[in-house]
Homo-oligomer: 267 residues x 4
């Protein structure tokens, strides 16, 4: 994605094939789409991905899927053809990219993360039509859900937001490290205080870490909580630290977004 | 609301009727209210809406409403008359708006979102007095609660805040898309890991999505949670992602409000 | 607090009594304390308030208080004398304030919110020593906890932070109004969907509002949650709205603090 | 850490021993590391700390540790030697610090917080190899987890972030004071309202504070919640205050980080 140019090739190619290739390139690649928003072709692909994901989700519920096997199979076959065609077109238009030769640009697409993801999804979509192996079918089902990740490249706005998050990578990593430290200390303390009383839940530090996660994220399912006075006091300290753990990344991200949008509007 | 002018009509009309119309227009429309804050007439309407909403809420509790049917009916009739009068006045003063002819301004009011809402509310308020159809009565009850939405147009400050949120629409939409993706992936993972052990709760992806929502929003009712080691590890990752899902929109909104207030104070 | 001057009176009074009054004024009033931080006298008062609060809390627990009645009574008597003396001194030094006459400044202190609070606390502290009326004793116990509110005037930093929050009062009020609207709509929807199935929990809108509060604040005790598919879908929407309800005030406050500190450092 | 200079000593020492000491100093002390990021030696120490912590955590789970006692003992012995060597090297290179004499710099290291922590960890690591006293073994286990705190000095970025948090110390302290006040008031109110009905949970203010913490942090385990109408109304107010308690520190930290990064980029 990084070596994709912001402007299409400028040399004049008057052949209708070359013109079609440039047209498809502009419509598929958000960074060279000349108009605001998302191109009609990408809207269609977004719709196809969403329909496919919703179908894959609903298919797992027997109350919905039983008696509609043919409908789901037909939908899956149709979407498989759409994504296969998209892959071939993306391979073809990779030639429009600048900076390298046509062959190298195509190879770069095939071995890029999104290119490999596309190929894996197409293989997974057609697998159930050529095999009845249960493990393959199960894996294919997961990968069909993974298609959602294809949405990421559809919009330039997403790429700008991701850059803002990435620019604070070290600080966010530090916050996660701090969270992990509080997590481990909390689990260790509760293991020492209630390890014998509730051995099933706090009998070892790894077991106590489930309580620690559920408390620090403020979820609090209620399947595990301290029952002694000492345990409740330590749990209160861990819980208050949990508030800080939400406040710190939020503060870092707020500062990052604020700066990103201000810099953007200064241009 | 967008084509409402910021200044009232300036042509001199000396008739007392015209003066009354201009006076009511200034008192009902926050954007042309010359003083700071909210006009006395709008304060009265806010009070009427709040009293009506509280009454509609309390009426559903038998411990409160039984034996007080006449009181609630009388209150409802009185409020219905107030809102009907308000609607007629708003229709009349729509003529004060600039940019179009009087008739067109009035038609625009009738077919605007808030005009249609007003009419629906008035119909719903009087429906129980002319029919005893149970479905109509039930629908009327809901619409009486919807009157709360009328509060939105009472203040210019609300419109400024809404604009700040709207200016970051793409980014907030992206965050919701990301949240939906984590939601689906989390539900898929838990369905694969605990679908057979807790088939009632994780037996299909749509069922597992209830767990996913309750966990990502950090509510954690405790009606459904993972019980295996693998399920707990995946749930921990989803829970930590839930913190990020709170941090990202907060960061975006903080930046939006900060910029909106700074721009405002620069003028 | 608003008409308290930032500088003490400048006229020369050489009497030792007048000098003591000025000294006590500087030590008790944070806004005229010439050094950084909090004065030693205010540190002592903060300690007295905290000790009194902790004692009042612990006294309610029979495991701690039984057998130590004399200790708690003695502590309460000592603190009562400290706060009575503080009140008399504050009455005396009110004369140091500028802008009004000595008598008026003292009357203003007596009838100010903090003056009345001080008096109520002193009366409550000594009440158990002059009466055995159970209701009086119970009320006195609560008011002793209220002493914590006295801490508010101890620091100038607190007053600056409060001003930053107050400057966004309209926006925060709007957020609370929006939260109340979502609360009412969520409760109405769940009442319609599960009112008959779980009549004890969703049988009326006021009952359903307890679920609404517990969900929107993301607490999720687990005593009440939807059990039908429709209820779970609506609850999911309310839960996601709950994230926005946390994000909006946070964004507003972040912007307010950011501006307050930046303006402060520009001086 | 405060008296560590930003530049190494500049006098020419051509002895290979002196050169090795300067080299180790640059590699161990993040503030004098000339390149971006973290030095290879510190990466190795971070890995050793993390491996040791994970081992200490897993060792407490019988399902993992039983039958692998020799492996855990060997790993612990190896890590103990690494940390002992690190301590000796840190003692040796303390001479490179400027501002004081060599002997004083070394004494300062030995009696610094991190120096004493290092020594305690080394003693705790080797204790199980020289004694079988159960209490010593238990204490040693905790201290091995405390090694995580050694990570703090590994990165200059962490020190910058800590400074941003520290710069808002008064405001964050005030927020915690406010949270403590709401906590105490909420617990007092629930104790008064439900102290007799649920005496085990709200029978005294200290007992009610466990409910208060679990509610204000929005964890909501579900082991304790109000059951009366009055209790639920007060709990709702405390819960909404809980949202503000998350919003305020987040706002303060967001402003602090925003300013810290902006100031940093202005240089």
């Amino acid at each position: 994605m990084l070596n994709a140019p912001n402007t299409p090739k400028t040399q004049k190619e008057d052949s209708p094939i070359g013109e079609l290739r440039r047209l498809l390139y502009r419509h598929l690649e958000p960074s060279v789409w000349p108009n605001a928003g998302i191109s009609p072709l990408n809207w269609f692909l977004i719709a196809a991905i969403l329909v496919g994901t919703v179908a894959a989700i609903l298919q797992t519920e027997p109350l919905i899927s039983s008696g509609r096997e043919a409908l789901f199979r037909g939908l899956e076959l149709g979407l498989g053809l759409v994504f296969a065609l998209e892959y071939l077109v993306r391979f073809w238009i990779a030639a429009e990219r600048t900076g390298h030769g046509i062959a190298e640009n195509r190879l770069r697409f095939v071995f890029s993360f999104s290119g490999l993801l596309d190929l894996a999804i197409i293989v997974a979509t057609f697998a159930p039509f050529v095999t009845a192996n249960l493990l393959v079918l199960r894996l294919a089902r997961i990968i069909r859900i993974v298609r959602l990740a294809k949405l990421g490249r559809m919009s330039a706005a997403i790429q700008r937001l991701s850059a803002a998050v990435a620019s604070r990578g070290v600080e966010l990593l530090f916050t996660m490290g701090l969270a992990a430290t509080v997590l481990v200390f909390g689990a260790t303390a509760l293991h020492l205080l209630e390890g014998e009383l509730q051995s099933e839940k706090f009998g070892s530090i790894p077991r106590a870490m489930w309580w620690s996660v559920v408390t620090l994220t403020t979820i609090g399912y209620g399947d595990v909580y301290p029952v002694t006075v000492g345990g409740k006091i330590v749990a209160s300290i861990v819980a208050v630290a949990g508030i800080g753990l939400i406040a710190m990344p939020t503060g870092i991200l707020a500062a990052a977004f604020s700066d990103a949008f201000r810099t953007g509007s200064d241009d």
